[in-house]
């Protein structure tokens, strides 16, 4: 059988499945973003954020626990929070951590791996996701946000965020919107704008993923399961292409029984941080070059941790 067999019937079925699953979550993210823009004052964000940069990064990595958003909905929220004065490094930490470090994902991972040391798998996934997100955030603190953020995606007042800064910025409609109904309409308009900006990239990612999911013969990837390093990096590559939602990817990972557990952990940590649709979604906010570097960096760091360090940890646990 050929390794590539494309049919419109399969493509449309898979594409619509991804769209129907993901669009409501992009919508939720956009609505939250619109709500933050209008109803959450910048001063509140900057007041709640610790002034210490390391502590601020550590706290942002845990925000998903009280603010569970999957990766489809996180980009508009991050864009809005950065506009409100959240430092870019903290925003990226939140963006990478929240699709993994949240109670919904913890529960789904536990359920998916029931009978396969679920506490250990769930704990490893959340810990590793948090660790990697914090590392990336700390590394980016010294980087000039203007070299990361896409031009005209977020307006940065002159030299306001060239260093770690938590200065409050202007709020949407400051001085022009007063009544609740006006604020509500404004929030809806902003949510629409955010949705339109984000969904267009989501659809492109979904189309590419649907093509791979249905047209490529999955047998071609099976030989990759034989070696820990090879299987780890292979599973991460698969997660990029499958573009699964973090709330459900554990169920898929659990079915790759021929792959080592560390490879499946890598799949569940790397996938929610970077995949095909996220490449396009991140491009809404960040420069393409940064998105590519971020993807490569995450790929290498998570791959090395999972293939070199994690096997020793699992062995010490008798797993």
């Amino acid at each position: 059988m050929s390794w590539f067999t494309f049919t419109w019937q399969n493509f449309l079925f898979s594409f619509l499945g991804l769209a129907f699953e993901g669009l409501p979550f992009v919508l939720v993210g956009s609505l939250i973003s619109g709500g933050i823009a209008v109803f959450v004052p910048s001063r509140l964000i900057t007041r709640l954020l610790p002034k210490n940069r390391v502590l601020a990064t550590l706290v942002n990595g845990l925000l998903g626990v009280i603010f569970p958003v999957c990766e489809c909905g996180i980009v508009p929220i991050i864009r809005r929070l950065i506009s409100k004065g959240l430092p870019v490094s903290c925003g990226i930490t939140f963006m990478l951590a929240s699709p993994i470090v949240n109670p919904i994902v913890a529960f789904s991972t536990f359920v998916a791996f029931r009978g396969q040391a679920p506490w250990l798998i769930m704990g490893t996934r959340l810990s590793l996701g948090y660790l990697v997100a914090v590392i990336v955030g700390l590394l980016l603190q010294k980087v000039n946000p203007e070299t990361i953020l896409r031009e005209r995606t977020i307006s940065i007042p002159a030299r306001r965020r060239l260093t770690f800064s938590v200065s409050p910025l202007l709020d949407a409609g400051d001085g022009t919107v007063t009544s609740f109904s006006q604020k509500l309409v404004t929030a809806i308009r902003m949510a629409c704008d955010d949705f339109i900006d984000t969904a267009i990239y989501f659809m492109i990612g979904a189309a590419i993923a649907a093509t791979f999911n249905t047209a490529v013969n999955q047998e071609v990837i099976q030989p990759l399961a034989t070696n820990i390093t090879l299987s780890t990096f292979s599973m991460m590559t698969i997660s990029v292409i499958l573009t699964l939602c973090s709330t459900s990817d554990a169920f898929i990972a659990a079915t790759f029984v021929s792959f080592p557990m560390v490879a499946r952990i890598a799949f569940m940590v790397f996938g929610p941080m970077f995949d095909l649709k996220l490449f396009f979604l991140y491009s809404v906010l960040f420069k393409k070059r940064f998105v590519v570097y971020l993807g490569i960096g995450l790929f290498i760091v998570i791959g090395l941790i999972c293939s070199c360090l994690l096997p020793f940890f699992y062995a010490s646990q008798g797993f």
Partner: protein, 303 residues
């Protein structure tokens, strides 16, 4: 004027997306695409999209939405709005019109069959509680009622080896008198009506094998051509969230005479299951006595 035109196109796009979602929800087509727990979101999202589209097209865009008085959104660019219309709305409409709401055999073969069903989330349907179906008492499924002596099922404990062919009863005697038969769901013809998953779970669960062996069983699935004219595969797609993650579950079927069925068409197979050892696992083959076309079930996907 450009801003108004842009607002109108964006509003139409959002309402259009909402209408597509609502059409899929109210026609029931969404059942083929999503796991039940995701379906209500389609209704909610469809309504919200429609409201948002109307508000967007109708409200005046006088407020600044970004900091520093500089709007960074692309939505007020008419060309961008048209691009959004073609990327976001047109593919959904094309899918609504042209999608057959199912995979063909190429997708099934490309994805590869699920070899060990116990690794999938869920449980055999015969042990689920439904309103119109009797519940099989746990002891009938092989669970010891003495809690201190209870053991987890194989799918719950990977360290526990699956019953070896030597220890498993490869040719158990028909279990019609064990009391379990009365709990099995029956079809109108009086046969035991099962899902493909039930027979596949039985490969690793001795109590189910005993329960099914010797019974005349009826299973509905999609026909996939086998290696020769006397063998074919009965396919059901298993989803976790949506059609994009569907995995094919296949039940091998053996027939005495070649049958004429359309590729991936729905068929009802009646026959008796035969379990035989293959390596360290038991494998099931349904020896069919009758194969006939069938209507697709209400939920074409298993989950």
């Amino acid at each position: 004027m450009r801003a108004r035109a842009s607002d109108f196109v964006n509003g139409v796009t959002l309402v259009g997306v909402g209408v597509v979602l609502l059409v899929f929800f109210f026609t029931g087509r969404i059942d083929q695409y999503l796991h039940p727990q995701f379906r209500p979101w389609i209704l909610v999202a469809g309504v919200i999209f429609c409201i948002m589209g109307v508000v967007y097209a109708g409200a005046k865009s006088t407020v600044q939405c970004c900091t520093g008085g500089e709007c960074v959104h692309h939505a007020n660019n008419p060309f961008r709005s048209l691009l959004t219309f073609f990327v976001l709305f047109i593919p959904l409409v094309a899918g609504t019109v042209f999608s057959k709401d199912s995979f063909d055999h190429n997708a099934v073969l490309n994805r590869g069959f699920v070899n060990d069903i116990t690794r999938l989330p869920g449980a055999p349907s015969v042990s689920k509680t439904t309103s119109d179906q009797a519940i099989i008492p746990p002891e009938m499924l092989g669970v010891d009622i003495d809690e201190t002596a209870s053991q987890p099922l194989p799918q719950d404990d990977p360290n526990r080896p699956v019953s070896s062919p030597q220890s498993a009863d490869a040719n158990p005697t028909p279990a019609s008198d064990d009391g379990s038969a009365q709990y099995l769901p029956k079809s109108a013809d009086g046969n035991v009506a099962l899902d493909v998953t039930d027979l596949l779970y039985a490969e690793s669960e001795e109590s189910l094998r005993k329960m099914f062996t010797g019974k005349m069983i009826e299973v509905i699935g999609q026909y996939l051509l086998g290696a020769d004219t006397k063998h074919f595969k009965l396919v059901r797609m298993f989803i976790v969230c949506c059609a994009a993650d569907a995995r094919p579950l296949v039940l091998p079927v053996e027939v005495s005479t070649p049958i004429n069925a359309s590729d991936m068409g729905w068929v009802k197979v009646t026959g008796t299951p035969a379990f035989s050892p293959n390596g360290e696992r038991m494998h099931v083959v349904l020896k069919a006595t009758k194969v006939e076309p069938a209507d697709p079930p209400a939920d074409a996907m298993l989950y």
